[in-house]
Symmetry: C2
């Protein structure tokens, strides 16, 4: 059973919190505009990428020693044709560089909120949460918390693989915005 703090109160925050609470984790929410006290051992930054810098400035000291989960897709929303992080890098890598005393994971960026809350992608394929990170214990804790909540979760490799997860999230968003897939669909992992 994990203790989880979710920073953010949008649809992704609610969907992730629902999964984790359903699995028995203690879940508390903090709005990212109103500084509060972080109680959880796992902290999910359920915020859009442009809010990350402010949240790190507000909460950075409290995040030391925590498992910090980055869910962002750092798209250039003006063009929908690129990411705003440097080529080859990732938002997760930037966050890890800013939080050297935290265990940063990338997760939930390839699963739309609707696929978390229903447990399926496209209404048919079980939802798998892909988790990348450099700390095995941190990954195992998040994978266990997600699986307790009834979803599948998979260790997708080191934090360097956040680049690939963000590429999947990017492409998936472009397909949804162009109505080639629905917001309850996307890339599902079939073993």
């Amino acid at each position: 059973m994990s203790s989880v703090t979710i920073i953010g109160t949008g649809s992704m925050a609610t969907a992730i919190g629902g999964v984790l609470a359903g699995g028995g984790s203690t879940v508390t929410y903090l709005g990212h505009g109103t500084p509060g006290t972080i109680d959880g051992d796992i902290v999910v930054l359920a915020i859009p990428y442009p809010a990350v810098a402010d949240v790190l400035a507000t909460y950075g000291a409290q995040l030391a020693g925590k498992v910090v989960v980055d869910i962002t897709n750092p798209l250039d929303f003006a063009t929908f044709d690129s990411l705003v992080v440097p080529a080859g890098s990732s938002a997760a890598a930037e966050i890890a560089a800013a939080l050297p005393d935290s265990h940063v994971l990338k997760a939930f960026n390839t699963t739309f909120a609707g696929t978390l809350s229903t447990g399926t992608v496209g209404g048919t394929v079980p939802t798998t949460v892909l988790v990348a990170g450099d700390d095995a214990d941190a990954k195992a804790a998040l994978v266990a918390a997600v699986e307790a909540g009834g979803l599948k979760a998979l260790d997708a490799g080191s934090l360097a693989r956040a680049h690939e997860l963000e590429a999947i999230g990017f492409l998936q968003l472009t397909l949804a915005v162009s109505e080639k897939i629905g917001w309850t669909g996307g890339f599902a992992l079939a073993k």
Copy 2:
């Protein structure tokens, strides 16, 4: 009905050729070590990335005016931790730069041979071939040829999206090699 030349004779060549022939396309194969005459309007480079330069040197002049399909995943197979193309770019972009008179598409790099031949990912989800490219007619021709062969196919955007398709192919390969998924599984698109 398309006329297709497949350069390569490995498992991907056979699987792709099987799909397209099944849909009524005329399919001929050329070994990439033995120069031949390209008859098809669509040319699938069903070769590993390290063979691309030789194939372009051998066949480049014959590829002018053709739809050229790049299926490669340009992994660093020594480390399985990066691609060998420049960050932010793609093998498809390199091929397009080398073939300015061809219509280059990225396709089939996110579908293992077993998912093409069986028509399903993980035995359950219908296989979707993702196609990226800058020429709408070229994409439409390949999508139609694949769909005629009984698979789903989707226009995944401009050739710039080959970067994201190669990221998916890369991550999928790392998951298969580490036995987290099978070679008949992978990322399936669920709408």
